[in-house]
């Protein structure tokens, strides 16, 4: 990213400023990191009531087969992801990964079957590269469109469903990862029951021109507070969810990252559509034989947070690092420091003690099952 290029703004930028947000550069956008309530309160409010997030910086891509058949769009996308797209029912969404020739992860994304097309949501920092990647590999059979004229908001937390049910009663019948179209305040929206906080909640794609109006009206509800990127990060970390660029990147494979749950049987060895995506050889081999390292939860034994970038060691004497922390901080709901990182597989069992270097000291951290907080998805 060129630091000199002007920051882009989402359709909700003026709203953030009017709400007193502290704005920071993030993935090329001027984004709210926190509002006056502060990160701790925003985090805890999302876990106990409902938090509204602006995720409009993320990319929304429409993928349509030239044949008009959704099956053709699904099979085309399966050339780029190790995921069962063909088996994704209409009105359903699934987590997916773009892989490279070495089995590394180019980006993680959501794929929804919208009946006549696939609807993809990709990370902000990767969206231009993802779009070019899709164009390069799929444009002979598919039409691709980056939806620049839509905002994306997330309403997350145990009260999200009751807040939105006041606008559209049927929302309560949606299950986790369902996708539907409905009018909220007379604006046609695409709604998925999903999010990235470990809470029940919804992501809502809104035409840009109406986004501020819809967001303002949702914020009028007494259960809803606006939530910035600071709390978004601590919420997803407690939920054990990967942040692209920190916990996963082109140098980590889905198996190393512990994301093999996202690779359905039909795409694995012996499956009816085994392989056929970039890096399949590497990934299929790791699925059978295991990987030499693994992403794990890390619970520092003391009160000091251990941040991303901290090196990990087998003993308190240091020496050669065995891995590193990829994300870390304080977990406001867990009420203790939380972190994730990579360790050799033989040290990846919960209960194993390793040591993180923080300001020249080697702090004991315990390998811990993820997530740190129990998700409340409505399956």
């Amino acid at each position: 990213m060129d630091d000199r290029s002007p920051l882009k703004q989402t359709p909700l930028h003026a709203l953030h400023v009017s709400l007193g947000a502290r704005m920071v550069p993030f993935a090329g956008y001027d984004m709210p990191v926190q509002y006056p309530a502060g990160v701790l309160k925003e985090h805890l409010h999302t876990r106990t009531a409902a938090g509204l997030f602006d995720v409009s910086h993320m990319g929304q891509i429409r993928l349509t087969a030239k044949s008009g058949r959704i099956e053709d769009a699904a099979l085309a996308l399966e050339k780029l992801v190790p995921v069962d797209v063909l088996g994704l029912g209409e009105g359903r969404q699934r987590y997916a990964l773009f892989t490279n020739a070495n089995g590394g992860i180019l980006d993680d994304l959501m794929v929804a079957n919208r009946g006549d097309h696939l609807f993809l949501v990709v990370n902000a920092a990767c969206k231009d590269a993802d779009f070019a990647h899709l164009k390069t590999h799929l444009s002979d059979t598919c039409d691709l469109e980056m939806l620049e004229d839509r905002a994306l908001i997330a309403l997350q937390g145990p009260h999200a469903v009751s807040v939105l049910a006041e606008l559209w009663a049927d929302i309560a019948t949606m299950r986790f990862m369902d996708v539907a179209e409905a009018e909220l305040h007379d604006v046609p929206c695409i709604i998925s029951r999903s999010g990235y906080t470990g809470e029940d909640g919804f992501e809502i794609s809104i035409p840009a021109a109406s986004a501020e109006d819809v967001a303002r009206r949702i914020l009028e509800h007494p259960d809803v507070l606006p939530i910035g990127l600071g709390a978004r990060d601590s919420l997803r970390l407690e939920a054990g969810l990967c942040l692209y660029g920190n916990d996963i990147d082109t140098g980590t494979t889905p198996v190393e990252a512990g994301l093999q749950w996202a690779l359905q049987k039909v795409r694995r060895g012996g499956g009816s559509r085994e392989g056929g995506y970039p890096g399949a050889d590497f990934i299929l081999r790791q699925l059978s034989n295991g990987a030499s390292r693994r992403r794990v939860g890390l619970k520092p034994e003391g009160k000091a947070p251990v941040r991303g970038g901290a090196l990990l060691f087998a003993t308190a004497e240091g020496g050669n690092p065995i891995g590193s922390v990829t994300s870390g901080g304080f977990g406001p709901s867990a009420e203790f420091p939380v972190a994730m990182g990579y360790v050799p597989t033989d040290l990846a069992s919960p209960g194993t003690t390793v040591f993180a270097e923080v300001r020249g000291k080697y702090l004991a951290v315990t390998v811990t099952a993820l997530p740190f907080v129990t998700p409340s998805y409505k399956r």
């Binding site: 990191v33 990160v39 309160k41 990060d233 304080f330």
Partner: protein
């Protein structure tokens, strides 16, 4: 006597000993504090040394020693409850007491009016 540094520490000086903390402005910038590490009594620091570390939910920040001296006491209450620094930064949220090597060095620090101008 109340003095300030341009690194956003405050010092309340009484009889050659400075009680040191971070200003309300610094706390506002840091956000909710979740961890504080303080220097041990008896340790000596030079002006500009890292004497303490504070961590908010998002990030760690250093707190510098504002003048040369020896730590005579640190505030265990903010280690036990870092939110005291957020709620009362220039009172109960003090960090440490520093016996100054050269009490006259305080004259080089900012007074309240100059500090207010700095953060305006």
């Amino acid at each position: 006597m109340l003095k300030f540094t341009d690194e956003h520490e405050w010092l309340k000086i009484e009889g050659g000993v400075a009680t040191v903390g971070i200003t309300a402005y610094a706390v506002e910038q840091l956000g909710d504090l979740v961890f504080v590490e303080l220097p041990e009594a008896g340790s000596a620091f030079a002006k500009g040394d890292t004497a303490s570390t504070v961590e908010s939910v998002k990030a760690a920040s250093d707190v510098y020693c504002p003048l040369d001296g020896e730590i005579v006491e640190s505030n265990q209450a903010i280690v036990d409850d870092p939110s005291l620094v957020n709620s009362d930064p220039q009172g109960a949220g003090w960090f440490f007491k520093l016996k100054l090597s050269d009490p006259s060095a305080v004259n080089a620090l900012l007074d309240e009016a100059a500090y207010k101008e700095l953060i305006a």
